[in-house]
């Protein structure tokens, strides 16, 4: 590593181990659920499209994520917020 790389690593960027941990936590979530890495994005896109026709739904607030599940390999949870007015 050059001096500038070292400087950036020492004082600027998050340590490599933190990056590794975050990546691993995400990878294992998908691995454990048996899902391909783009699965959640694909599901989200399809759901957003379907929800567009309902004016009372705030599509910008739709939240989708994988969680562990007791009965199945994994579970995709989707939060669909209703507009305030």
């Amino acid at each position: 590593m050059g001096f500038m790389d070292k400087l950036r690593d020492a004082f600027g960027r998050p340590p490599a181990k933190e990056v590794a941990k975050k990546r691993l936590q995400l990878i294992l979530k998908y691995d454990r659920a048996g899902l391909p890495p783009n699965a959640v994005e694909a599901v989200k896109e399809a759901i957003l499209k379907a929800l567009e026709e309902f004016p009372f739904i705030d599509t910008s607030g739709v939240n989708i994520h994988i969680t562990e599940s007791e009965n199945t390999k994994g579970k995709i949870e989707i939060e669909v917020p209703v507009r305030n007015n």
């Binding site: 400087l7 941990k21 936590q25 990878i27 294992l28 454990r32």
Partner: protein, 265 residues
Amino acid sequence: MADKVICITSGKGGVGKSTVTANVATALAMKGYKVVAIDADIGLRNLDLVLGLENRIVYDIVHVVEGVVPPEKALVKDKKTKNLYLLPAAQTKDKSAVKPEDLVKIVEELRDKFDFIFIDSPAGIEEGFKTAVTPADTIIVVANPEMASIRDADRVVGLCEAMQKPEPKLVINRLDPKKVARGDMLDVEDVLQVLSLDLLGVVPEDKNMVSYINRGEPAVLFEDSIAGKELRNIAERLLGKEIPIPKWTYSEGFLEKLKRLFGSE
């Protein structure tokens, strides 16, 4: 004893399965327990090298499966360590030469004659892995604090669960405290947060390990080996002794940081 038949596995290759097997088996034999280490990596035998027994092999596990000799006849007695025996893998056959039921039968025949039976699993998650895990009461997963190894270890844990085996215990191998201090390498806590397994031990990087393996002398035979010391502790923990596990971590001071910044390393 519930922890009598112990399979050492990892998913990923090259993380130190055979090294951990050879050393923990040797450490228990040094304490007076009668131990056999079975090399279940058919076609890629290695455990004999780590133990320095490669020149003494006459029969191997496939001869036993084929009924050429009974299991006891195929065992290689370790000359350096009393009470330690090796059942070598075959070098010429492939992994399908030993089926799960074959290994179960061999383990049953040896069970009453030994205090501990270690099974050194092949890398991978195919038939050879399943054969190695099937007879085990206890499974130890060896992982390096490194992305691919941890991901593979997690796969192995899932497969063990699917096989209705008890949850594996974790040995973190080749942790480099210097790299951890720099924030370059995952530390023990990081690995445990990701894998959430019972931790059996942490073996630090030991620059002498290559030469121990080259000489066929397990690290646990050497009082001054830092890896050897932790490998002996793993053996003690298998016996139920509570020995605290060092976390191998410290914060790099400002001066150290500066030194590293301007140094050549």
